[in-house]
């Protein structure tokens, strides 16, 4: 397949994914605000849950992609894997920020405090800090080979924190709710469907953002190598 045909195919997949994600967000908003009932104990503030939890899932996707891209970069040293590592870290950090900002708004109503050093909150903050360090390292001018390899190692280190976030509510004492479990969630049917749709919509959004960011990063690398070539002529 030639490059032009592949680019055209990519553009079609991109457009379809974008359309499907936007449509899903529309349906999700309807499900969250019209269909899903108001929670008995917490009231309307519980609806933050429908964006907070899928954002946490999108954060896992972003950080996971960054770790995979970084591992592949360390093995193959190909710029496309490095671009994927950067894109995943940026998108993961974006969703981590959403989780860390929307969570306290729910906590203020549910727990009476904005923040508490609960294991899940603490490990999520730690993941955000690790990947923020990754991005800070990569933003120092045009990153050289050493910086790229060090950042890739940092992304793999950050990956260790992801299962800790996930299992912290089961293993350690804390106050974070556990409504979604392997035994079946403590959610009413309408709540369950609103959350499920939101999960799919946020996954689509995370994929779209990673795709766009990785493409921009590859172009940036191309420009950098062209600049290097011109300087050494």
């Amino acid at each position: 397949m030639n490059i032009r045909a592949r680019q055209s195919g990519n553009a079609t997949v991109w457009a379809l994914l974008l359309f499907a994600t936007l449509a899903l967000f529309g349906v999700t908003l309807y499900m969250v605000f019209v269909v899903a009932p108001v929670e008995k104990q917490m009231g309307i503030v519980q609806k933050i849950f429908y964006f907070h939890v899928p954002s946490a899932y999108a954060m896992y996707v972003g950080f996971g992609v960054s770790a995979v891209g970084s591992a592949m970069y360390l093995i193959k040293r190909s710029p496309k894997w490095d671009a994927l590592g950067v894109a995943g870290a940026e998108v993961g950090t974006l969703f981590c920020l959403i989780v860390l900002l929307t969570g306290p708004l729910w906590a203020r109503k549910a727990w009476g405090v904005w923040w508490t050093w609960d294991p899940r909150l603490t490990t999520t903050l730690l993941a955000g800090m690790i990947f923020a360090a990754y991005l800070a390292l990569r933003s120092m001018g045009s990153a050289g080979e050493v910086e790229k390899r060090f950042a890739a190692g940092l992304a793999l280190f950050g990956l260790i924190d992801l299962p800790l976030i996930h299992y912290s509510v089961q293993r350690w004492r804390g106050v974070h709710p556990t409504v979604i479990t392997g035994k079946g969630g403590g959610l009413e049917s309408e709540m369950y469907w609103a959350l499920s749709l939101s999960f799919v919509a946020f996954t689509g959004l995370a994929i779209l953002l990673i795709w766009a960011r990785a493409s921009a990063e590859r172009q940036r690398e191309e420009a950098a190598s062209l600049r290097f070539e011109l300087m050494h002529r």
């Binding site: 108001v38 708004l105 729910w106 350690w172 479990t181 921009a216 062209l226």
Partner: protein
Amino acid sequence: MRALISAVVLGFTLLLTSPTFADDGPATGDAGAETAAEERAAQFVGVTGPDAESIPGGVLLLTAYAIVWALLFLFLLRLRGLQRQTAEELERLSAEVQASEGR
């Protein structure tokens, strides 16, 4: 490759040690005691009638949703800026390459 192996070894070491030290361990003595996971809220129940709230949840909810959309919008704006800047630079560099080849 060495960096990857070091990262994997470090990862496994941390994975094995930190939960071991941080774990509270099973509850002792009281046979009917709940585990850490069981003590927390495990169910969201829908309200059946009108219910008054002490803290206005609507404001908190609106703020949360505004934050989500604002952050996404800012990210997209930044991405667009980055793409535009790179495209301009690529165009300029391509012109420079062509000019240098013509010399």
